[in-house]
């Protein structure tokens, strides 16, 4: 049985009501590590969106045309992570070749996209929710944009927080988590718009 939601609804829901970061807690590590400055946050967000959209498409094909026909569904974790790792490697090589400046800016965080749980998470959700190809791509693209929106918003807030008097023990990750919690609260207000299972 396939999911009955239409692709545009999945797209908007994955940005606002089911934000991959604020509702599903995926991609937290890089969320807290990179979100100090707005430009690098947006750069990483774009890279993640691109990788996420392409890997959901690739993994959809791998899952439905390779794993299911050969009864290898249990190997999906390994298959997905190999596809993601290979794709990130490819993106890394292309960026290095054609835009060395962007390559330097992204630095070590580019290979780390491989272990960004948001990407594997989107691929696994796609299987669990039984999306078809178009729905999966919409979900991957929307999920990436939603992640970028959240990380860019946090980066903007953290730039302002530099001047704020924060209790010593709460500096760094503590205050970022509280800000993220407040953002999650405000994103919950979107849930009246669209519902996604």
């Amino acid at each position: 049985m396939e999911s009955s939601l239409s692709a545009p609804i999945i797209f908007f829901a994955s940005i606002f009501t089911n934000n991959i970061l604020l509702a599903n807690f995926l991609g937290m590590c890089s969320f807290l590590a990179i979100s100090r400055e707005l430009p690098s946050a947006v750069g990483l967000g774009l890279a993640v969106t691109f990788v996420m959209t392409c890997t959901t498409a690739l993994n959809y094909l791998v899952y439905h045309y390779l794993l299911v026909p050969f009864h290898l569904v249990h190997f999906r974790f390994i298959a997905f992570i190999i596809v993601i790792a290979a794709f990130v490697q490819l993106v890394e090589m292309v960026i290095d070749r054609y835009s060395p400046r962007l390559y330097v800016v992204l630095g070590v965080f580019l290979p780390l996209i491989t272990v960004n749980c948001a990407i594997l998470g989107v691929c696994l959700f796609m299987v669990i929710r039984k999306y078809n190809f178009v729905q999966s791509v919409a979900y991957g693209f929307g999920g990436g944009l939603g992640w970028m929106l959240a990380i860019a918003a946090l980066a903007g807030i953290r730039e302002k927080l530099k001047k704020a008097p924060i209790p010593k023990a709460l500096e760094g990750p503590g205050i970022s988590l509280i800000v993220a919690g407040l953002m999650a609260l405000s994103f919950m207000a979107f849930s009246g718009m669209i519902q996604m299972g």
């Binding site: 604020l22 509702a23 599903n24 807690f25 995926l26 991609g27 937290m28 590590c29 807290l32 249990h74 190997f75 999906r76 974790f77 390994i78 992570i81 190999i82 790792a85 290979p111 491989t114 272990v115 960004n116 749980c117 594997l120 998470g121 696994l124 959700f125 669990i128 209790p167 010593k168 023990a169 709460l170 990750p173 503590g174 205050i175 988590l177 509280i178 993220a180 919690g181 407040l182 999650a184 609260l185 919950m188």
Partner: protein, 204 residues
């Protein structure tokens, strides 16, 4: 292996270098599964198993793994153990497997495991690596259980599904939703850092 060394490993894993509130690693799942104690416990046990076994395996293979592809090898080792956990849960605890959803698979990308493999197992013999994996896993599971206790008790009024609060208690729904996960972890980090701060002030 000396007893003191074991104790040092565990003290580091559980408190001094606790993966969750010291190094802020692997918090995705820490936030996602902590609204129910049962799920949290299973997740914690799964993570302890995967961390310990993959640390031991990475350590056993450390001399024959080519440096250039070691990340790939580590990810594949981790993924294999996660697969075992997933199949085990599907077979024996189907309800919990259903409730945890994609988060079991996401143990693969849990940075704690990769961190232990890269930071410890790669340069140490099998037995210490195995213990180090268990220690980190226990540190992770303990923090999660503490957070889950508060969230389930206030959010559902239950612990492990058993009602504990008096019947006049009105469940605090926000505790089981996403924002409270962030707030709870932030408060936890706050308390841990404050304690540490006091300790360092005490002895100049």
């Amino acid at each position: 292996m000396a007893k003191t060394q074991v104790r040092t490993l565990f003290r580091k894993g559980v408190w001094e270098e606790n993966p969750v509130f010291r190094q802020i690693l692997g918090i995705c799942s820490a936030l996602a599964v902590t609204n129910l104690m049962t799920n949290t416990l299973i997740m914690g046990l799964g993570l302890i198993f995967v961390t310990a076994m993959s640390s031991a395996t990475v350590s056993a293979l450390r001399k024959i793994t080519p440096e250039r592809i070691r990340m790939m090898v580590q990810v594949l080792i981790i993924a294999s153990y996660v697969m075992m956990v997933d199949i085990f849960l599907k077979a024996y605890l189907p309800d919990i497997s259903e409730a945890l959803g994609p988060y079991v698979g996401l143990i693969i990308t849990n940075c704690i495991i990769m961190g232990r493999c890269e930071g410890f197992a790669r340069n140490n013999p099998v037995w210490p690596a195995f213990l180090d994996g268990i220690a980190s896993g226990v540190g992770y599971a303990l923090v999660l259980l503490i957070i889950a206790t508060v969230r389930e008790l206030l959010g559902f009024g239950t612990l492990f599904g058993k009602p504990l609060m008096p019947s006049t208690w009105v469940p605090w729904t926000i505790m089981i939703m996403a924002p409270a996960g962030f707030f709870m972890l932030a408060v936890f980090i706050w308390i841990a850092y404050t304690l540490e701060h006091k300790k360092t002030q005490g002895k100049p």
